[in-house]
C-alpha cells in the first residue's frame, strides 16, 4: 500500500475508534449522545447528497428519499411487525426502488432542471406523507415508531437499544458501514465512469459509457443511503411529522446542502466535517436559537464565496492563494486562482 493509502486507513481506524469511544468520553451523557447520534444520521444523508455530486448534479431531493425510508420503516415495523434489522434494509431498498422508478426522466434532464425536479420530489413525498393519514398519521404525525428493542449482544448480554445512549451504537455502526460502502464506490472502477460523465457526458457516451445507466446506479445508491438515514431517524426519534418546518420540509434540504458545502464537497470527509462543525455551532448557540438559521445561512454564503473548497479544503486553498501571490509578485497576471494546477 502507498503512503497515502496508509494515511487514509489510519484516518478510518481513528474515526471508528473515536466514534465508539465517544460514549465513554462523554460519560454516557444521554443528551450529548443523542446529539451525536443525530449527527451520524445527518452525516449519512449529507454523504448521499455528495454522492450525487459525483455525476455533477445537485439533488435537492435526498430529504424526499429519507421521508420514504422513515415512513416505510415505521410501517414495516408497526403494521407488518417486521423486526428492526430486516425492516431497516427493506425500507432503504424501497427508497432505492422508488428512485429507480423515477430515475429515467430525472436523469434525462441536467443541471438546474434536475435540481428543480428533485426539490419537487422531496416536497411531493412530504405532501403524500401529510395527506396519507391512514398510513402515516397525516399532519398529526406518527408516534410510537419502535426502536431495535432488547437484543442479545455477544460478551455483553442483553442490551436495550431503545435507550438513546445505546441506540447511539446502532446508528453509528450502521452509518459507518454505509460510509465505508460509499467510500468503496469512490475507489471502485465505477467512480471513473461517473467522473467521465461529470466531465463531459457527450464524450462519455461517445466512448461507450451508458450515461443514463451509470447515472441511475449513482442516483439509486444515493437514494438507498438517504432512505437508510431516514429509517435510522425514525427509530431514533420514535415520532415522525411531515410538517413544513419539520425535518422533512424544504429547509432540511437546504441544511444538507449547507453542511456539504461548508465541509467541502470535493472531499469524502467533507459531509462529516460540515455536519459536525455546524451542528456543534448550533448546540453552542442554543441559547439564541432564533438566530441559528441566520448564522448557518451566513456561514454558507461566506464559505461558498471565500472558501469554495470548504473547511477540509483549507490547506489546499491556502497553497493556491500562496501560489497566486507568488505568481503575482513575479509579475504574472490573470492567473486562475481556482487551485487547479498541473502535475507537470
Amino acid at each position: 500500500m502507498t503512503k497515502r493509502g496508509w494515511t487514509k486507513l489510519l484516518l478510518w481506524v481513528g474515526l471508528v475508534v473515536i466514534a465508539f469511544a465517544l460514549p465513554t468520553i462523554l460519560r454516557r451523557d444521554p443528551y450529548w449522545l443523542t446529539v451525536f447520534c443525530l449527527l451520524a444520521i445527518n452525516t449519512l444523508l449529507v454523504s448521499s447528497l455528495r454522492s450525487v455530486t459525483l455525476i455533477n448534479e445537485i439533488s435537492l431531493g435526498q430529504v424526499g428519499f429519507a421521508v420514504i425510508g422513515a415512513y416505510a420503516h415505521a410501517a414495516l415495523m408497526m403494521k407488518a411487525h417486521i423486526p428492526f434489522w430486516p425492516s431497516l434494509i427493506l425500507s432503504s431498498l424501497f427508497s432505492a426502488l422508488i428512485a429507480l422508478a423515477v430515475a429515467y426522466p430525472f436523469l434525462k434532464v441536467k443541471g438546474i432542471y434536475f435540481s428543480i425536479l428533485t426539490l419537487l420530489t422531496a416536497e411531493t413525498f412530504r405532501l403524500v406523507a401529510y395527506y396519507w393519514t391512514s398510513m402515516t398519521g397525516g399532519s398529526l404525525g406518527l408516534t410510537g415508531v419502535p426502536g431495535p428493542g432488547k437484543q442479545q449482544v455477544p460478551f455483553v448480554g442483553e442490551v436495550n437499544f431503545d435507550r438513546p445512549a445505546n441506540y447511539y451504537y446502532i446508528a453509528v455502526g450502521v452509518v459507518l458501514v454505509a460510509l465505508l460502502i460509499l467510500y468503496w464506490l469512490e475507489r471502485a472502477y465505477i467512480s471513473f465512469q461517473w467522473r467521465a460523465i461529470r466531465d463531459d457526458n457527450l464524450l462519455a457516451g461517445a466512448v461507450g459509457i451508458n450515461v443514463i445507466g451509470y447515472k441511475t446506479i449513482n442516483f439509486v445508491i444515493a437514494a438507498f443511503m438517504a432512505g437508510l438515514s431516514g429509517a435510522l431517524f425514525a427509530s431514533y426519534q420514535h415520532n415522525l411529522s411531515p410538517d413544513t418546518t419539520s425535518r422533512f420540509g424544504v429547509s432540511m434540504s437546504i441544511y444538507l446542502l449547507v453542511y456539504m458545502v461548508v465541509g467541502g464537497k470535493d472531499y469524502f470527509v467533507g459531509p462529516l466535517m460540515g455536519t459536525t462543525v455546524l451542528m456543534l455551532i448550533a448546540e453552542a448557540t442554543r441559547s439564541s436559537q432564533q438566530y441559528q438559521p441566520m448564522i448557518t445561512g451566513a456561514i454558507a454564503i461566506l464559505v461558498i464565496l471565500f472558501l469554495p473548497m470548504g473547511l477540509v479544503g483549507i490547506p489546499k486553498q491556502v497553497r493556491s492563494w500562496r501560489r497566486v501571490k507568488r505568481l503575482r509578485a513575479a509579475g504574472v497576471d490573470g492567473v486562475n486562482p481556482a487551485g487547479k494546477e498541473g502535475k507537470a
Binding site: 435537492l60 426522466p105 428543480i116 419537487l120 395527506y131 454564503i301
Partner: protein, 288 residues
C-alpha cells in the same frame, strides 16, 4: 350560501392564487434564463415584499402606495443581491454557487423576519371590500382586483420586453448569452434588470397574497416551488409558456383533488412534470 356560490368562490380563489404563481414564475424564468442561476430565495423575496407592505401600512401609508413602495424596495434589493452575491465569479460552478447562496439567503431572510415580526401570522388590509355579482353569485372584489393587478403586471412586462430596447436586449440575452454579448449587450446589466424586475414581481405577488390570505415567515416556499413547476412545464424563458404552465398547474390543483384523495392529488404536479419532460424535455413551449 348556495353550492354554486361556494364553487364559484373556490374557482375565483384558485384563479387568483394561480395568477400569483404565474407572477412568481415570470420572475424566476427571467432570472433563470438571463442569469443561468437557480434563485431559491425568490420565495423569500415574495415573503419580504408582503412584510414590507405590512410594515409600511403600519407606519400609516395607504395599501396601494405601500405595495408600490415595497415593489420598488425589492427591485433595489434585487440589484444589490445581483451585484453583491449572484454575479458569477471565475472558476466557480455557477449552478452550485447560486443554489448555495440563495438557500443561505433563504435561511437568513426567514429567520430575520421571525426575529423582527415573530412566528405568528399577520394580515394586511383588504384590497377592497364588498363583492360583485357574477352569474348570480357574490364574488369578493379583492379577489378580482388581485387578478386584475396580476394581469396588468403581466401585460406591462410583455410590452416592456417586446417594445423597449432594454426589454429586447433582455430577450436576446436570455436566448443566447454569449451571442448577445458579442452584439454589444452587457450581460451584467441584463442580469441586474432581470433581478430587479423579478424581485418587484415577487413583491407584488407576495403583497397580493398577503392581502387575500395571511402573512407568515414561511409563506414563500410554496409559491416558489409552484413557480419552478410552472417554468419546467411551460419552458424556460417563455412568457406564454409561463401562462400555459400556470394554467395547467391551476387545473391540476383544482380538478385532481375532486376525483382523487389529497394524497394522490399531491403527486399530480410531479407526474405531469415528469411526463412533460419525457416528451418535451424543454417544456411545452420551450425550443430545442
Amino acid at each position: 350560501m348556495s353550492s354554486l356560490d361556494l364553487w364559484l368562490q373556490a374557482t375565483v380563489n384558485g384563479i387568483a392564487l394561480g395568477w400569483l404563481y404565474v407572477l412568481m414564475a415570470l420572475g424566476l424564468t427571467l432570472i433563470l434564463s438571463i442569469m443561468g442561476i437557480l434563485q431559491l430565495a425568490h420565495g423569500e423575496i415574495y415573503m419580504l415584499g408582503a412584510y414590507a407592505v405590512h410594515y409600511l401600512v403600519g407606519r400609516g401609508l395607504g395599501l396601494y402606495p405601500a405595495i408600490a413602495t415595497s415593489m420598488f424596495i425589492m427591485a433595489v434589493l434585487g440589484i444589490i443581491l445581483e451585484r453583491g452575491l449572484f454575479r458569477p465569479r471565475s472558476g466557480r460552478e455557477v449552478v452550485l454557487c447560486s443554489i448555495v447562496i440563495s438557500t443561505g439567503l433563504t435561511l437568513i431572510l426567514t429567520s430575520a423576519i421571525v426575529v423582527i415580526f415573530g412566528l405568528y401570522t399577520k394580515s394586511l388590509p383588504l384590497l377592497a371590500t364588498g363583492s360583485v355579482e357574477i352569474f348570480g353569485a357574490a364574488v369578493p372584489k379583492d379577489r378580482i382586483l388581485a387578478i386584475g393587478f396580476s394581469v396588468l403586471a403581466l401585460v406591462l412586462l410583455y410590452l416592456f420586453l417586446k417594445k423597449t430596447r432594454l426589454g429586447l436586449a433582455m430577450i436576446a440575452s436570455a436566448q443566447n448569452r454569449e451571442g448577445s454579448f458579442l452584439k454589444g449587450i452587457n450581460p451584467n446589466r441584463m442580469s441586474m434588470a432581470a433581478m430587479a424586475i423579478g424581485c418587484a414581481l415577487a413583491a407584488l405577488a407576495g403583497a397580493l397574497a398577503g392581502a387575500i390570505l395571511q402573512l407568515q415567515p414561511y409563506m414563500g416556499a410554496l409559491p416558489m416551488i409552484k413557480g419552478l413547476v410552472i417554468i419546467v412545464l411551460g419552458g424556460l424563458g417563455s412568457i406564454p409558456g409561463a401562462l400555459i404552465g400556470g394554467l395547467i398547474l391551476g387545473l391540476i390543483d383544482g380538478i385532481v383533488p375532486v376525483f382523487f384523495s389529497p394524497a394522490v392529488a399531491s403527486v399530480g404536479p410531479l407526474v405531469v412534470v415528469i411526463l412533460v419532460l419525457l416528451f418535451r424535455p424543454k417544456g411545452l413551449l420551450g425550443h430545442d
